[in-house]
């Protein structure tokens, strides 16, 4: 019989008909265990190597292992709730003719405390794990703002400036004369530092296979690091709605061998020399108001675009 305060002791209890009550807890545990084990083994061994975003770069590999570990921890939790739910709905469903209420169990302190304890431990360990991954040797490929706290070791990485504008990505290589191009080429095995900025609205630079995602904000430099470890194609998409052609802001980048990369930069540098001369000097952000005396420049050049009033007199400074 239930105790006066409504708690029920574990173990067998005689029910009304005199048969011993089965040990539901044990049954559920025995049903749950194989499901959780099989799920975890499948995730770790079968599915694991194929989890997104792949392992083409150090940051992507870190993220893939993070997703793998979280899945291994999440699967048993989900299995527990689902197995328990299925068991309950089958074993404890209402039978025809039985109009009695269920046992008046208001709560069980031990069960509640155990649940709260276990979930807290799982959740806190995930938080610690995530922090370690962010600070660990591979970093995490996410945009760190303009004062990154994690940098790769070993000298200055290859600098690639990613400029987002409506609606195309361009890339600038300051260490090779500052030429700007619409193609993204990276050497394998070298640390890369992406400096991501925007010229108008918020975009987001997402290089899927490299495991890099960082928002491009106007007048802000957002830094992300990675190190490609295999050659191949990199799918770059914009991950922040930026207007009409957001879905079309894509680049197919290439990770190539170091020698191929050097050859490419040399060719691009010469081919784009005339254009590079016209570009503004390389800076981490491009503020249009930094052009000195912007309004006077326009008047002097007699610029009159789009119907005549480029900047109306009531707008001395416009972004």
């Amino acid at each position: 019989m239930p105790a006066a305060d409504g708690t029920v002791a574990d173990g067998t209890v005689a029910d009304g008909a005199g048969r011993p009550e089965p040990n539901h807890g044990l049954r559920i545990f025995l049903l749950w265990l194989p499901v959780a084990l099989v799920a975890d083994l499948l995730i770790w061994f079968v599915w694991g190597p194929h989890l997104p975003p792949g392992a083409m770069s150090t940051s992507a590999a870190t993220q893939q292992s993070a997703i793998k570990i979280m899945s291994v921890m999440a699967a048993p939790v989900m299995a527990l709730v689902l197995v328990y739910g299925a068991y309950a709905l089958v074993v404890w469903r209402h039978r025809e003719g039985d109009d009695e209420d269920g046992p008046p169990i208001h709560g069980n302190t031990r069960v509640s405390v155990t649940w709260i304890g276990v979930t807290s431990v799982i959740v806190l360990s995930l938080a610690v794990f995530g922090t370690v991954e962010l600070a660990g040797p591979a970093g995490a490929g996410a945009g760190e703002g303009n004062t990154p706290i994690w940098r790769p070791s070993g000298g200055t990485p290859l600098q690639v400036q990613v400029i987002g504008q409506q609606w195309r990505w361009t890339y600038r290589y300051p260490q090779f004369g500052g030429f700007e191009t619409t193609s993204l080429m990276l050497p394998v095995g070298e640390n890369v530092q992406f400096n991501i900025t925007s010229l108008d609205v918020i975009h987001s630079f997402w290089a899927y296979q490299l495991g890099v995602k960082a928002d491009a904000n106007p007048d802000i430099n957002n830094v992300a690091y990675t190190k490609p470890e295999h050659t191949g194609q990199v799918q770059v998409r914009c991950a922040e709605l930026c207007g009409l052609w957001h879905a079309d802001m894509t680049t197919v980048g290439q990770v190539v061998s170091l020698s191929a990369f050097n050859a490419w930069t040399a060719t691009a540098r010469t081919q784009l020399a005339a254009l590079t001369k016209e570009l503004p000097p390389y800076t981490l952000t491009y503020d249009p108001n930094a052009v000195a005396q912007l309004g006077k420049v326009f008047q002097k050049a007699g610029l009159s675009g789009a119907g005549g009033g480029f900047y109306g007199s009531q707008y001395p400074v416009q972004p």
């Binding site: 400029i163 504008q165 409506q166 609606w167 195309r168 361009t170 700007e180 619409t182 010229l199 108008d200 609205v201 106007p218 207007g243 009409l244 052609w245 079309d248 784009l272 005339a274 254009l275 016209e278 570009l279 503004p280 491009y286 249009p288 420049v297 050049a301 007699g302 610029l303 009159s304 675009g305 789009a306 119907g307 005549g308 009033g309 480029f310 900047y311 707008y315 416009q318 972004p319």
Partner: protein, 224 residues
């Protein structure tokens, strides 16, 4: 209310709702500017003529007449159509002529001052071949660009000698930019856009006409 009255009211209400939905979808969601078809008459090469105007005649363009806009010349009728959608055959050489009736505005990113993706890698301003243009300093000034990013095509359009504000314009106070490119083999819609903020500053300038079909951006439909 009696059952009959309730059923009648219900039927009327349902019809009103369905009618409203159809109206909203047909009127506001579907539809758009017409597509000028250059694929019908094929003779190996296709000639596309367009013009850019500072603003339009309100009689011809009732929506947003003050917006800067492209017009395309229909090959069948020779009249100017207010649209930015056109259709070309696949794997064909397209010769584009753009008559520029707008004044000058520099690009936000100087990279778009270079011609790319055209046959020969250059465009012609009034017959003279041009490769790299600085819209800030000259000697050539630009007003707009015509770019099809997925084909890596980008051509700055030369600034005109005067601005014409009653598009479509037919006088001879315009610049002439000509270039050619090959359409790809894969059929589909290829977006094109302008990279010059419409003289409205860089932030607002990329809104409005730059993001509206029929004005400064559109689709080139390639059909096989």
């Amino acid at each position: 209310m009696s059952l009959a009255a309730r059923v009648t009211t219900l039927i009327v209400a349902v019809l009103a709702v369905v009618g409203g939905v159809i109206f909203v979808v047909a009127h506001y969601l579907l539809g758009g500017p017409p597509t000028v078809d250059f694929a019908a008459a094929t003779s190996g090469q296709v000639n596309v003529t367009m013009q850019t105007d500072a603003s339009s005649d309100p009689a011809t363009v009732p929506d947003h007449p003050t917006w800067v806009s492209y017009f395309i010349k229909s090959p069948a009728s020779g009249s100017w159509v207010h649209t930015t959608l056109f259709q070309v055959p696949a794997h064909t050489r397209v010769n584009v002529t753009i008559l520029g009736y707008d004044g000058s505005t520099p690009v936000r990113n100087q990279v778009w001052g270079q011609v790319s993706g055209t046959t020969g890698g250059v465009a012609d301003y009034g017959g003279k071949p041009v490769k790299t243009v600085n819209g800030w300093n000259g000697p050539y000034l630009i007003q707009h660009t015509f770019a099809i990013p997925s084909l890596n095509l980008s051509v700055p359009v030369e600034a005109g000698p005067a601005t014409c504000t009653t598009g479509p314009c037919t006088n001879n106070q315009h610049s002439t930019t000509t270039f050619s490119f090959m359409t790809p083999a894969q059929p589909g819609a290829y977006r094109w856009q302008c990279f010059v903020p419409c003289g409205l500053s860089y932030l607002d300038g990329n809104g409005g006409p730059m993001q509206t079909f029929g004005y400064m951006t559109g689709n080139m439909q390639v059909v096989s």
